[in-house]
Amino acid sequence: MVKLKSNDDKEFEVEEAAVIQSEMIKNMIEDGCATSVIPLPNIDSKTLIKVIEYLNKHINMGKAAETGEEDDLKEFDEQFVNMGWEELFDVIMAANYLNIHELMELCCQSAADRLKNKSVRAVREMLKITNDLTEEEEQEIINDAPWAFEGPEIDDTVN
């Protein structure tokens, strides 16, 4: 068992087999730096719970692929990424920090899927981006790559 501590001082016990999916922690364990609690100053407990849920489910990923559990795992993944943008980005940050490749892939792909075919307005709305470009700058961007702004905007819905 490996103990992880979130930035709001909550401790979690995770099986070593699960936690070594994180390259960072794997390296720490190999270097013998994981004898006591591993503090994770960049991750809050809410996100860490999510990440641990993923790690525990994917503990047997390699074998699952061979045994027909793959569908089950796929379903789990689909459910797992079914979260708000803010949470998704938190998990991405955590996965990036802990260096969990598969989780990173999963979440980035989910983020990308949500951005697919979206209109500029919809993306701004979804990600809460404030447009700080002047009209001249916007025009300049369009002139640089006119082809990208051609054609009808496909999806204007926000979700």
Binding site: A65, C108, V123, L133, W147, A148, F149
Partner: protein, 662 residues
């Protein structure tokens, strides 16, 4: 502490409020300060804001009421920017489930009635949910008549909410979600969407302007120029436009490293100079994986791009189950783009090359040191061309040839370790002359002749040849020629081929694993497999897989047949020296075959303990190769066993015992 806020500060906030209320913007409908929600009390004690009742709230343009959730309980509340602090009635607060803190210095709060109420207790960190976001507020306990709670300026401030006085709505706090993510993460997200959409994000805001310009993966396709037809070719106008757009893109592109580059568009030969320029940029960016598809149709190759672990032998068995229904239509031969390998002479970091729908021109002088995987789909190969390509690749590991037009005779040479042929046309003879070749698999719709000229380390062979003549060939001449060190062989038969299953066959010298896959073969009598047992003297594992949709509708009980086969398998024959270990029968993918077997048969199989046992495995269509089975078992040893159905678990454990003892 907020609750013992100096009077001067409170007054200053109030005066700001007052000045706002009397600013020109409000002058058209000046509210009456006495009748509104706010009454200012400035005397010797700490005094705060007054309350209001529901009628006034509706009438007043400066307040917003609504139902929000505090600790997941619906409460009717007032959002009052005029109030500095937030309040909750004791009746609601009782349900919070924790005790309030006492305030060091109690407040006196004035009401519109002109009297004062004292606030002495505060509930800290109450979770207020607004628009499914959780925020936190410190709520003072106060006896309010018409509302359950009042959220004041402190809450609005702490969660960045803004109040729209005109529509009387609270706007969700405007926090840029992506702001916390580093640029490289955002770029890698962008790399997963269509290049057009990715470039479009440059107009979102200043930070996003050049994010797209460091994407690690670039996918150029005809979609980015607005040509969305699923046709092989596209008109010259669009081809011209494609190159223009690619050029414009590269002018903006600042990426230091592109790991993967994909191009999917029909190109005529006259655009070869533009194409040459693109190839030049590939060496500049240090591309590792290059996909070039010279048609507008997507080639379903993604499955093969990153073979995981030891999966090489799994992937194409799936293909032999599902034959592509529609034959691909090739463009006319002279319209094929001629791809000269010479263009890759500078691509020193290229590891994988995927070529589709083109003619490949080998180069005598070219040396590709880094290339490990070569994947050709629907490529026209003429005599000598593949040999030329192979001689340029000094470190090739995998060669996959799929749906290609091939010459009559091919010779596989060089350093390649795994070779796979999938439904290609034209080939009659293959000569294997690769000293590092470990695995070889092929799927042809007709009989192909094999020569094993020089394959000293070949161990795994998977063969699927259609046609009536193929079965006798495989169990005859092929068996004779198969090098002695080959350990595992997978043979696929389908449809009527099974009726040509030979009754006499050549000896497979060293074969220890044999898998027979009967595909779309409904009522094959498994007893017919018996001659195989005599032909394989040292066989340890025999897997028989029968795949048929029909058996799902009308299951056949094969228990008796299996019993016969089992007896046969275990009876020592003159040349049978070793223990015969396993029969596994996977009846129907996705159906637990064991469910079709009576329990006593199964348990009698399981009861055998001395190394001669039969095994069945519940496998998915994609994963039923021997190699896959082995990996699976290996993996299962450690962790996966609890995930498996009980019966199967036992079977697998038996197999483990065997492999340990052996």
């Amino acid at each position: 502490m907020l609750y013992s806020m100096p009077r001067a500060l409170i007054t200053s906030i109030l005066s700001v409020q007052n000045s706002l209320r009397h600013s020109p913007a409000y002058s058209s409908t000046p509210p009456s300060p006495q009748k509104g929600t706010i009454s200012v009390v400035g005397s010797g004690r700490n005094r705060l804001y007054a309350l209001t009742n529901r009628q006034e709230a509706k009438a007043s343009p400066h307040v917003v009421t609504g139902t929000l959730q505090i600790f997941s309980r619906d409460v009717y509340l007032l959002l009052d920017p005029g109030s500095i602090l937030s309040y909750v009635t004791p009746y609601v607060a009782v349900g919070f489930g924790f005790k309030p803190d006492m305030i060091a210095e109690s407040f006196s709060i004035s009401t519109p009635m002109g009297d004062f109420v004292m606030a002495r207790r505060v509930y800290k960190n109450c979770v207020v949910s607004i628009l499914s976001r959780d925020t936190v507020a410190d709520l003072l306990e106060l006896d309010i008549v018409n509302f359950d709670a009042i959220l004041g300026m402190d809450w609005l401030h702490s969660c960045y909410a803004t109040l729209d006085c005109r529509t009387q709505k609270v706007h969700e706090p405007k926090v840029d979600y992506a702001s916390q993510l580093p640029d490289d993460v955002l770029s890698s997200i962008l790399a997963r969407i269509e290049i057009k959409d990715a470039v479009k994000t440059s107009i979102l805001c200043r930070r996003w302007r050049y994010l797209f310009a460091s994407m690690p993966t670039l996918r150029f396709s005809h979609n980015m120029i607005g040509y969305n037809y699923l046709d092989h070719t596209c008109p010259p106008y669009y081809q011209q436009k494609f190159w223009k757009v690619v050029n414009q893109f590269f002018q903006l592109y600042l990426g230091r490293k592109v790991v993967e580059l994909e191009m999917r568009i029909f190109i005529e030969r006259k655009f070869s100079s533009e194409f040459g320029r693109l190839m030049h940029s590939i060496s500049k960016f240090g591309v590792e994986r290059l996909h070039l598809n010279f048609s507008c149709v997507r080639i379903p190759a993604s499955r093969y791009i990153y073979p995981k672990r030891n999966r090489f032998f799994e992937f194409s068995l799936e293909l032999c189950v599902r034959i592509p229904a529609s034959r691909y239509i090739y463009p006319k031969r002279n319209r094929f783009f001629e791809f000269s390998l010479e263009l890759l002479s500078q691509a020193s970091s290229l590891k994988s090359l995927f070529l589709s729908v083109c003619v490949v021109q080998p180069s005598v002088t070219l040396r590709l040191n880094s290339l490990e995987t070569l994947f050709l789909t629907r490529v026209l190969l003429e005599s000598g061309q593949l040999e030329g390509i192979l001689s340029s690749c000094l470190n090739l590991n995998q060669l996959i040839i799929k749906y290609c037009k091939l010459p009559h005779k091919l010779c596989i040479s060089g350093t390649v370790k795994f070779v796979s042929f999938v439904y290609s046309d034209g080939l009659k003879e293959i000569d294997l002359k690769a000293t590092n070749l470990r695995g070889f698999e092929c799927f042809f719709n007709y009989k192909v002749r094999f020569y094993f000229s020089s394959v000293p380390v070949l161990e795994y062979v998977k063969i699927s040849l259609r046609g009536d003549a193929s079965m006798p060939y495989i169990f005859g001449e092929f068996a004779t020629d198969l090098p002695a060190q080959v350990k595992s062989l997978i043979v696929t038969t389908c449809y009527a081929q099974a009726t040509h299953f030979p009754t006499e066959m050549q000896i497979f010298g060293n074969l220890r694993m044999l898998a027979l896959l009967f595909e779309s073969t409904y009522d094959f009598d498994i007893v017919k497999v018996c001659p195989v047992l005599e032909a394989c003297p040292v066989l340890q594992y025999l897997d028989i897989l029968i795949l048929d949709q029909l058996s799902k509708l009308c299951p056949i009980n094969r228990a008796t047949d299996l019993g016969v086969l089992k007896d046969k398998f275990e009876t020592p024959s003159p040349i049978n020296r070793t223990n015969r270990d396993l029969i596994s029968l996977v009846h129907e993918p996705k159906v637990d075959y064991a469910s079709q077997l009576p329990d006593d048969v199964l348990s009698s199989i399981l009861a055998r303990d001395d190394g001669a046992a039969a095994s069945g495995s519940y496998l998915q269509e994609e994963v039923f190769s021997l190699q896959g089975l082995d990996t699976m078992i290996e993996m299962n040893l450690q962790h996966a066993t609890p995930l498996l159905p009980y019966k199967i678990k036992s079977l697998l454990l038996i197999r483990r015992k065997l492999s340990q003892s052996g």
